[in-house]
Symmetry: C3
Subunit: 344 residues, 3 copies
């Protein structure tokens, strides 16, 4: 159960660098590629000739050439040409609204008439040179909502990520959850604690002492349909925490775009945007490498949780205060699903 | 949907050299082995004692000895002996008509009463010392008819095999398709073109210049149930092409025996018979190695096409002129299926 | 179809050494761990908070700490604590009767009210310092009853284990099967034969000549629900065989605890208890290594037999004299199943 009339991150630009990319999103088999003016296109991954996956072909001057018999597909889902064939009567394949923005490729898997690029979530940092982004992609065999739960309840850091970002004080500090329109926010502030290894490295990355008490914050924001953006960071203790001068803190935003593949599998685009030492590419690479390890620690847990829930369908789970963020997020998703159903 | 009252290639002799071979063909679990006089036998791969697969056993003096408790199975599906047991009342297992001919083991998975060895497709080259054969076997997770389509439309060579047999001129030369009884033929002739790498090697294999224009031909013949035999080759240009003197050409027949395993998987026996330099075993090995690479390039495409079609059941595909060979082949198969259904 | 109101071996102590173990038994997802006083506990592998598998957590002072958000589960299936939470109202998870005895962890997957530790099969040798045990565990994708059949008809040794324990004389000596209460016994005695390689090593292990004729015995005992204990050994010929003086024989008991995982998969706890040279750990390791190889030879046969039987559901198999042990065992199992059904 996922909304389809909405923008999801479908790919990153490097994935379609000179070649098509086949990817299933919300149950739709889609091929992404760059058209004539380098604009990204997304069409059904199905050649109208014999049903071959177009994603096994190549991109030639902005046309997607089927790798089986050479049919040339255009960005509009209509066949442009095929050797020795008149293609006027060829049936078109479905196209999907797609927009490249903020360094991501956004796709709308539902009703194209509803697709308004203005609805794409705004990412202020993406175009700001004071910020820098690095990230990656994982495929996870779980319902996308389990990943949202995961990110809206960071007490799990203490247990799943004990050697990097976890620390006992997370557990000991109850979060507060609130709604701001259709954004669910859950936040936690810890004062005068020692930074865990990941944040020690973060402080060093901003040329700050890493062995002194800090104030640490986690501000998780869920935006529909399944984006979780988390302000995280540490500041030397007593300088205002989240609001401290940038020179005395290491602060950043964890970026999580969670795209359903099927009812029980997910494309997880993870990353971090930071506004300290933004030009330092070695630091970016170090952060990317650390996060890659941290987020990989979640996968087995999420996939086995998925299996456990499938075996125990309908069984009631607990909703504690720490689950408030996930509960609110699911409520917003349920509203979207109901609205989509009512409109259909 | 595959005909069962027909001869398929089930195995090659080397596969039952001193040992049994278990293989599923048209949904039937069969074990092949050599009986007392070295004649090949094919029986159900099921020990009547406890259901063990007989193919895990061994062949001892022409009897198939079950590897679990030593039951000795005969070529007629009747138990010959078992240590300390009277076997007279043991139930027989099914046998399958099987014939070794032309270097292949042919099996009839349907009604044994209908099995007439005279119906085995005749291979004139197989017993001719002027010819030489080399080949291999691939398992492909697709409907056997997708493999037939593949081989009856060689425009795909341009796209799937660009570094060996593909060249733009294939695309630019429309094929002609015709019926000759229950044989579907699709052919293409290209004149005065440069030979692609595979045929450059072929010319060298017949001690001919490889850097001069050639005439090239592709004559694909489909014979029921699923044999595709393709006359292919090149001759130095202007000497008659397909009909040129053998000394001025490199010509051969691509051999494709396509045997259904299940509704969605196939045993693909591929190879090449040639009548130049037939005794040159190094040349045979070189050709086998090249073909092995060429045919492996088809597998991913066919398997993903199969998945695409399963996801889009009932969706109409195109039938262009290049698809004529496959269309005619399927028509012949449909007639066989209808006749089989009517007879049952 | 397996009895659930009975004791199965669920694990061995080394598997829960300092960590929990998740294992499915008779369709139940169970996590085993050691509680506060080091007593083994078995609870449902499902965290009542969000359904995570508790087996991915850790054991801390006898509590099972969920690896996701830190819920602490007690041996009684009740949540002991969770950071910053009142856990009084948390729903309990199911517990399973579990007993550590004889070097094994026994679990009762059915109705806990029926679980009486006195019903655990008695293993006299387990607490006797004159005996020594070594063994291992295999996962086998077959119905547990196929494994029972395997062990109650040792004629298969001739075929599946020809280089270790198999020899022609097994085949040539019919076994005798009888019932002793709810124990099925099938036995075979061979006199004046040469010992096969495994027993040559056994004789050397007891400092006896290995190149002289021996009397060999196999006494297979099936006890419900699925234990097969087999007295095996060889004595120098003419000294009384099974009853010979321990100094002139190498004798031991093969231990087989066969625990259903699902209807078509099995945990196979195999091993050997011996009462010669019991303190010789190098000998134990040598035997364990040999047995590991021997029992691995059964796996492919059993798994392919399972597939064959699934494809031929309802097809009648033979019940020969050599199958008598398996037939009697299945009769006893059927009685247990009927009784369980009647009680429910």
């Amino acid at each position: 159960m996922f909304p389809k009339n909405t923008w999801y991150v479908g790919a990153t630009p490097n994935e379609i660098d000179g070649k098509p990319l086949g990817r299933k999103i919300c149950g739709e088999s889609i091929v992404f590629f760059r058209g004539p003016d380098n604009t990204v296109a997304a069409v059904e991954d199905f050649c109208p000739h014999r049903g071959a996956p177009l994603s096994l072909g190549k991109v030639d001057n902005g046309k997607l050439v089927c790798g089986y018999h050479g049919l040339e597909m255009g960005c509009d889902g209509k066949t442009v040409a095929m050797p020795c064939q008149r293609v006027g009567g060829f049936p078109a394949v479905r196209t999907y609204p797609v927009v490249e923005r903020y360094g991501f490729i956004w796709v709308w898997p539902g009703d194209a008439k509803e697709a308004d690029p203005a609805k794409i979530h705004h990412l202020a940092w993406a175009d700001d040179p004071a910020w820098s982004y690095c990230g990656g992609l994982y495929h996870v065999k779980c319902d996308y909502r389990l990943m949202i739960d995961n990110l809206m309840d960071l007490t799990h850091e203490t247990y799943l990520h004990p050697t990097s970002i976890g620390q006992k004080e997370i557990d000991e500090t109850p979060p507060k959850t609130r709604l701001d329109g259709n954004c669910a926010i859950t936040e936690r502030y810890m004062e005068g604690i020692m930074p865990p290894p990941f944040w020690q490295a973060g402080l060093r990355g901003n040329h700050l002492a890493d062995d002194v008490p800090v104030d640490r914050w986690q501000i998780c924001r869920f935006y529909p349909p399944s984006h979780v953006l988390i302000d995280v960071g540490v500041a030397h203790a007593g300088h205002g925490g989240f609001h401290a001068d940038p020179k005395i803190k290491a602060s950043s935003t964890v970026i999580d775009f969670i795209t359903p593949e099927t009812e029980s599998s997910t494309w997880y685009f993870w990353g971090m945007a930071r506004n300290f030492n933004a030009q330092d590419q070695a630091l970016s690479e170090q952060i990317r490498s650390s996060l890659s390890k941290v987020f990989s620690e979640d996968l087995q847990m999420l996939e086995m949780q998925q299996q456990n829930l499938e075996r125990n369908e309908g069984r009631k789970l607990l909703s504690l205060n720490i689950d408030g963020g996930g509960v609110q997020a699911r409520r917003i998703i349920d509203q979207m699903l109901a609205a989509e159903k009512a409109a259909a």
